[in-house]
Structures are given as structure tokens and as C-alpha cells.
Symmetry: C2
Subunit: 205 residues, 2 copies
DNA sequence: TGTACATCAGTGAACGCGCGTTCACTGATGTAC
DNA sequence: TGTACATCAGTGAACGCGCGTTCACTGATGTAC
């Protein structure tokens, strides 16, 4: 990595830590540059203003999350050819991944952005929207595959079910944080897995 | 209502609106007093500092939410004596209630607090924790009643299932906000209802 | 019923500090000839 | 291979504005005697 891009990454890292702990507005540039061990002007060399930092964080978060899901579904697809089993394996892997994160899940940049909506410009809000819609599309495809083979045991909209993957993770993070029990998020993912299992499980003939 | 307490309520109302839209730190006291049509010093007559405002908002939110759940479960209990049906009715009523809220769900004060943790003092964080644990206890009792009559079709922890009620609502709000689709939250609650139905539904003999 | 005092529900002006942002400058590295 | 210039990755000092908070004061209402 080039000299400058290394500093940029360090800025994003320390900024993300603070923002997830305190929120965007409450995290000052002074604090970021102190933790990143550069000067304030060094920050403005890499980002034209604070909104540009938010945008960069969301873009990076989406990229990380996307490769994570690619990896998860890829591994699940290697382990089974049955679409229902693939989904159940992927959700199990997701739960394990969240559980193994030291000090709980890193939290979700998209969620903090959602709760500080009017603070950001259109650019940032759009990036956020595209991320969530992208995840919906991705999981929808997984559930479509299952539904063609196993008719669901209840009448539900598969788009909503796809949204539930993101939703349960986000909601789990909030409950984890509020109660101080980091294991909750992965348990919530396992409950979603249980739902998927019951929803598509063929009735015993 | 006494003269002073009316102003206090108006402060809480306008503060909540802004905070849910932009976050706590991003909402200035100047903005609050302008919307509440008082002077800045009037604000400090009612709240000793900004943290006291946060605390008051959380306390009020918990009270409102508690009476809301009391009402919901009370009505559901009138409509059926079967504990599973009571839960399914209550979740349906909750979904309808969320759907009917003009301009989408008002959002959750607890969630914004969870995402701005390090910003608040211990007082505020504790109030937040007690709220979520209270809801867990309440829904746990509902699911316990069901489980004694209908053994669940999957091995799950009923505390986690109880947490899922809060979690699905919180997660739904985030997805709603991120996508700009307000109807999502109520649909997510209906999916949880579908899960409860499949989880406790007696197997056809 | 009138008076004195206390409390309630604020007002208005001022405060200093921290914030995001700008700007002129710089030393190290890369590139053309 | 040496020189001139350009770009990269920052530095350091200063800016003005908005923020949360304080403080002395006030007019209206409530209470004791």
C-alpha cells in the first residue's frame, strides 16, 4: 500500500471506532487525528469535509460486508447442493462469525447513518439505501431458490424475509448494546435460522 | 396540566422529533427552544443540562411503550383464552399500530441511545438497559404460557425469542429508514408473528 | 380582606471553549529531458 | 547521471461561528397571618 493510502485507512479505522461508540456528530476531527497520529490538516488532505468521511466509511463498510456475504454463501454452497441447507448453513456461519468477533459485533455503520439521516447529504443517504437494497436482492435470490423446491408453510413475501436478515442483525446489535450482552446478536441470527427451517421444512407425509 | 409542566412536555416533544431525525448531539438546544417557542434559559429551568433531557426522554418513552404493551396484551387477552392465539393477536395488533402511525414509526429513543452510548452518563445507560430487560421479562412470560401448552417445534431459548420482539421492531425501523419504505417495520413484525405461529403450531396428528 | 413573603416559570445578555474549515507553506518522492 | 519541475502527503497557525452553560433579574401566582 502506498504511503498516503495507509494513512487514509488509519483515519477510517479510528473514525469508525469512535463513531460506532458515540455517533457521528459526537466524534470530533480533533479526536480522530489524535488517534490516527496526524495533524488536523492532514485529515483535510484526505477528506474534503466531514461528510466525505461519512461517505467513505459507508462505501468501505458495504464493500467489506459484500465480500463477507460472498464468502459465506460460497462456503455454504460448497457444503451442500440443497438450497434450503445452503441457507441454513450460511446463517449458522453468520452467527458463528458474529459470535467470534472480539468484544462483540463491530456494529453497523449503515444503522448509525440511518439514525442520523437529516445530518447527512443526499450522497451519503443514497449510498446507504443502495446497500440495504443490495442485501435484499442478494438474500431474496437465496430464498427464491428454496421456494421453488420447498413451498413455504406460511404465506409471506420473500422480499420481506430477505430484509429480515439485515433487520435481525441490526436489531440484535441494538439489543446487545442496550443490555451489554454481546452474545445476543448471534442468538438472534440463530432464531432467524430456526424460522427459515420451520418455514420451508417439508411436511412429513 | 400545570403551566410549567405543559412547557416541559412541549420541550420533550420537539426534542424527540429532532433527535430521532438527526441524533442527540446534532440537535442543538437553540433548535429545541426555537421550536418550543421559549428562550434558552427557559430550557435550563426545566432541565439542569442536556443529559437530563436525554434521561427524561428515555423515561417518558419507556412509560409510553409500557402502557402500549399493557393495552395490546390486555385487548388480546379479551379476544382469546388460548395463549398462542393471544400472542398472535397481540403481534397482529402491534403490526397494525405501527402501520397506522402517520409518517411511519416514530422511531425508538432507546435505539438512538444505544448507538450513542459513550456520549451519555451512567444514569441514562442504566435506564436504557432496564427498559430492554423489562420488555424481555414481559414477552418471556407470554411465551412461557404458550410453551406449557404447545411444546415448541424447535429447540430455542425463550429469553432470546422474547428479545426478538424488541429486536425485530428496532431492526425494522432501521431498514425502513435506510430504504425510505415506512411499511417495512410492520411487515417485519408480521414475519415474527409467522415464526411464532410455526414454532408453536401443534403438529397435525 | 390586605399585606408580606415565597415559589414558579421563565427572560436576556454574556461567557468561553471546541468545533469544522482554510490557507500559506514544506519536505519527500516521482517524472521528463 | 544530473537537473528542473510537478505532485504527493502532509504541517502549523489562525479563523469565526455555534454550542452548552451561567447568572442576575422579573412578573405572575400561591400561601401565611
Amino acid at each position: 500500500m502506498a504511503r498516503g493510502s495507509e494513512t487514509r485507512t488509519r483515519i477510517l479505522d479510528v473514525a469508525q471506532d469512535s463513531i460506532l461508540a458515540k455517533g457521528f456528530e459526537a466524534t470530533s476531527i480533533d479526536e480522530i487525528v489524535a488517534n490516527a497520529e496526524i495533524t488536523k490538516s492532514g485529515f483535510f488532505y484526505h477528506f474534503k469535509d466531514k461528510n466525505a468521511l461519512a461517505r467513505a466509511l459507508i462505501d468501505r463498510y458495504i464493500l467489506v460486508e459484500d465480500t463477507l456475504f460472498d464468502d459465506l454463501l460460497g462456503r455454504a454452497n460448497e457444503l451442500s447442493e440443497d438450497p434450503l441447507q445452503v441457507a441454513l448453513i450460511a446463517l449458522k456461519l453468520l452467527a458463528e462469525l458474529i459470535e467470534d468477533m472480539p468484544g462483540g459485533h463491530p456494529g453497523c455503520v449503515v444503522a448509525t447513518a440511518a439514525y442520523q439521516d437529516r445530518l447527512f447529504n443526499k450522497d451519503v443517504r443514497d449510498a446507504n439505501r443502495r446497500a440495504v437494497l443490495g442485501w435484499r436482492k442478494r438474500f431474496r435470490a437465496v430464498f427464491d431458490d428454496i421456494a421453488t423446491l420447498y413451498p413455504p408453510n406460511d404465506q409471506i413475501d420473500l422480499d420481506h424475509l430477505a430484509d429480515m436478515v439485515s433487520g435481525v442483525v441490526e436489531g440484535g446489535i441494538i439489543i446487545s448494546r442496550a443490555t451489554g450482552q454481546p452474545e445476543i446478536t448471534s442468538k438472534q441470527v440463530l432464531l432467524l435460522r430456526s424460522y427459515v427451517k420451520l418455514l420451508f421444512r417439508p411436511k412429513i407425509q
